[in-house]
Amino acid sequence: MVEFSMTHAWLVPLLPFLAFAVIVFLTRPWKMLSALVSVGAMAAGFVISAYAAYGVFTSHSLIEKSLEYSVRWFSMPGLNIDVGVKLDPTSAMMLFMVTLVASLIQIYSIGYMRGEKGFSTFFAYMSLFGASMLLLVISSNLLEMFVAWEGVGLCSYLLIGFYNHKISAREAAKKAFVTCRIADFGLLLGMLALQIIFGTLNITELGEKIANFELYTNAATLTLVAVLVFLGPIGKSGQFPLHVWLPDAMEGPTPVSALIHAATMVVAGVYLVGRMLFMFLEVPEAQQLVAVTGAFTALFAASIALTQREIKRILAYSTISQLGYMMLALGVGSLTASMFHLWTHAFFKALMFLAAGSVLTALHHKADIWEMGGLIKKMPVTGATFAVGGLAIAGIPPFAGFWSKDEILSLTLSGGHPVLFFMAALTAFLTAFYMWRLIFLAFFGKEKPENHPQESPPVMTVPLLILAFLSLVGGLVGTPWFPFWGEWIRFGEFHHAAPDYTVMILSVILGVIGIGLAYKMYVKDVSAEQRLAERFRPVYTLLYNKYYIDEIYMWFNHTLVDGAAKAMYLFDIYVVDGIFINGIGAITRDTGSALRVFQTGRLQNYALVFFLGVLAVAVILAITGPAPAGLVWGGVR
């Protein structure tokens, strides 16, 4: 079975894809059956992934040389594109994590989406979403990965806009799609450049060739290519300045948000950079860009999250912030730390989103945390599991987030980036604060009499409990004393770093202070935020309005883009359409009609044309062929 799973890893994305097809074409009228098909396919994928992961994590040779197999997709002179599977510890870990989290989210969705219109369609899209992400994970080729990448983008569009009767949902879906498309254009250009320069898009071959890139191109060009490629992840992984779509993406049903934020969509960007890390490490400027973007995004998003009021919006900004951490880790050159944080984050973020969904169901979609309060009494499981997630993201040991965040912090410091370290540490403090602000406001304090919360059914709480368990223990695979993770998932040599107790203690202290401050401000003295907001009104407004980024984009679009569009529109109407299109169109049509006149239907005419044709052919031949031309014009030999 292990052997089979490793050589048939392509089944993992294929099964959910088949589930998608089966639901769309066959089982759509039967809701529960559709859900079962979807969950079943994902669970089967999980089983295969688990076996494959077991196989990968027991054969040491795969760390240096991944298991690859492929079929030729198409070929033409100078361009051969394969589709294939690249199985190494990184992709095996991702397969395992994505199928696990996606299965849990789908099971949860059965409860969450009960009675919704389009229940089957929802599961079809969820399956397609999972299939695209899994294909992206196992791709051995950048073009193959790009297809999956766009598939992920398409599914996010479909699912964010799932409640398409709501204008806000439609707008959010469009925003997500367009923002990512802008970024993808950069990625596409980067891929084209890679194909032109190195003549391949196979990741492994690129790795070999880029190691000696001087043979093909200079460092400046490669830096440019790396930056172009990085544009894609900036969009997909919600890095500044293309993060704007991610907070709006919560317009979709909550399980979708969980899937987007935890396991599928947004980590795709991080994963791509991780896959291409060999390129970024060759050009220090590009690497620096990744690190700075990550650190800045982490801090930037965390500061916005401080003042937000909607539960899912806070979680969305926290995702952006955590993705910043992952990018930062890649920027300082550590695949290990980045993937480790991706792994732990997947569990606690999926957990928190699903718990938030449970809250929203109980409160009939009232999302403002100031209108909640004391929910833990009526919803003990949801509250407790959310708190586990909160402890994990705040970096309290032994929860999962502590280990991965600590590794990023200590690597940033030891890598010689004091400024970035300071930003990351500050983010850690802010994270603990805003997350516990949410928890204290929503689950503790006074109960609001107008709310009548009820604990969700087991189909929703059991996935929560499983995820809570994983958020608790998921980090133990990579502690400084048991560096299993770093030994397997790495780029370059394995260094066993001694535990850095200074950073460790510092990050715990920051987390505890953050939680403590939140406790003081939101449990002991509830009006504290009010007073602070009044004292620092401009700052508070700036943060509350998310630095007005959306408004700036809006202004830019309304004046520059719309203005340019209007000018071009007029040009189009009067010059292009008026002169060229209609002119050419008229000529084309008239020529067609004129030629039609020859088609008289009379046999004699046809025969005449035939012989005229023979004559014409003879003339053309006499003019164009070298030998006949010589015969006709140059006399007979």
Binding site: V71, R72, W73, F74, S75, M76, P77, T588, R589, T591, G592, S593, L595, R596, F598, Q599, G601, L603, N605, Y606, A607, V609, F610, L612, G613, V614, A616, V617, A618, I620, L621, A622, T624, G625, P626, A627, P628, L631, V636, R637
Partner: protein, 477 residues
Amino acid sequence: MSVNLSLISLEIATAAFGLALLVLGLIVPKTGRTGFGSLTTLGLIGLLGLSFTLWNNQGSLYDGIYIVDRYAVFFKQIFLAAAIMVAMGSMRYVDEMGAQAEYYSMLVFATLGMMVMASAGDFITLYLGLELMTIAFIILVCYKRLDAKSVEAGIKYVLLAGLSSAVLLFGLSLVYGLTGTVTILKVTWAFLTPGAFSPALLLGVVMLVAGLGFKISAVPFHMWAPDIYEGAPTPITAFLAAGSKAASFAILLRVFAAGLAGVWENWAMLVAILAGVTIIVGNLVAIPQTNIKRMLAYSSIAQAGYILVGLVTASPAGIKAVIFYSFLYIFATIGAFTVVSHFYTVTGSDEIKDYAGLSQRSPLMAAVLVVAMLSMAGIPPLAGFVGKFYLFQTVVENYLWLAFIGLIMSMVSVYYYLMVSLVMYRDQPADTTPIAVPYPVAVTLIVAMVLTLFIGIYPNPVAKIVNAAAMSFFMLQ
């Protein structure tokens, strides 16, 4: 000399099958004459199965008169696939005309003629195959004996095909006179010596171009096609456009890319110009058409121009492109014509304006028609895109203008193809009754659509087979 009869087992079986159908039609009493369509379909599928045994059984008979290489076998499979789809798509249509065994028997004989053409290694065999196919087609074109249009088309076809045959024979005899042989292989050798070009050969090439150009409906020898395509029973139009054209290309390649390869530089430019003119005229005249069969007829003239592009360089890549395009083209063509044929059976109309709202009356038919037409226009990810890519890739280097003509005219073609789509999807139908699609027709349509999509998305398996076929074409020289 021992004769390896297994090489022509496919032709023997096909001939026997055609005769059997004819005889069965005589013995079965008039009331019981149904099921010939199914029988023909099954028989043809059996023949297709048989053809796979020949893939690894190559050779030539009678000193190169009859060549069975992978090139020939693959073309035969194309013809059989086309014939199967036409037979399935015909069932309703023929039932309306009265179930008649002769129709299917002629279909099989036309297929046999095509097979002989694909394998022809000398001029006599080539001509025999060509005439066998043409005569069967003449009968099929005027099969609706009581329909004036059909009969008119038949008469026109007889006369014009006779004319073209005469010209072709004249050309062949000139080549024979120059070389003293009718075997294509020996003709090839005769022309390999430098300075082989003579005024008589010039005349011969002109005649060959005209005679074969008629069969593939290249401009200016295309005049017959729209009238006959329109008048013929629609399934026959499909077979004419797909099968007859593919078979004619099979011999065109044998005669020019093999037989006249030695004097290639003399006719390359001529073929390039013919291809360009055919593409332009076919696409332009398609625009003002209001009858869908005529529109598709002109579109198929344009398609012939595209395929002709592959002959210009007479290179392995060009041959491969021609075979590849001939293969994918039958699915798009037969898919489109089967929709037209079934639409006519139900509504009695071929006018484009009557296709209004077809997407509501039969989503399958509308979808197949759109996919088929967009494939012909070369829109990715459909098969036509890949096919055109292979074709034009061969001329980009030395005949860039031709590639440009192809590109621009493909854009023009999108206009008239999408006009039909617009009518089907935007307009409201005058009559909203859904159109039921019977089982065999539905199978034909779905096969055509799925293959058009599949080849477009994943061309590699077919490209590999085509490559093997193209390689075998050059091996025998």
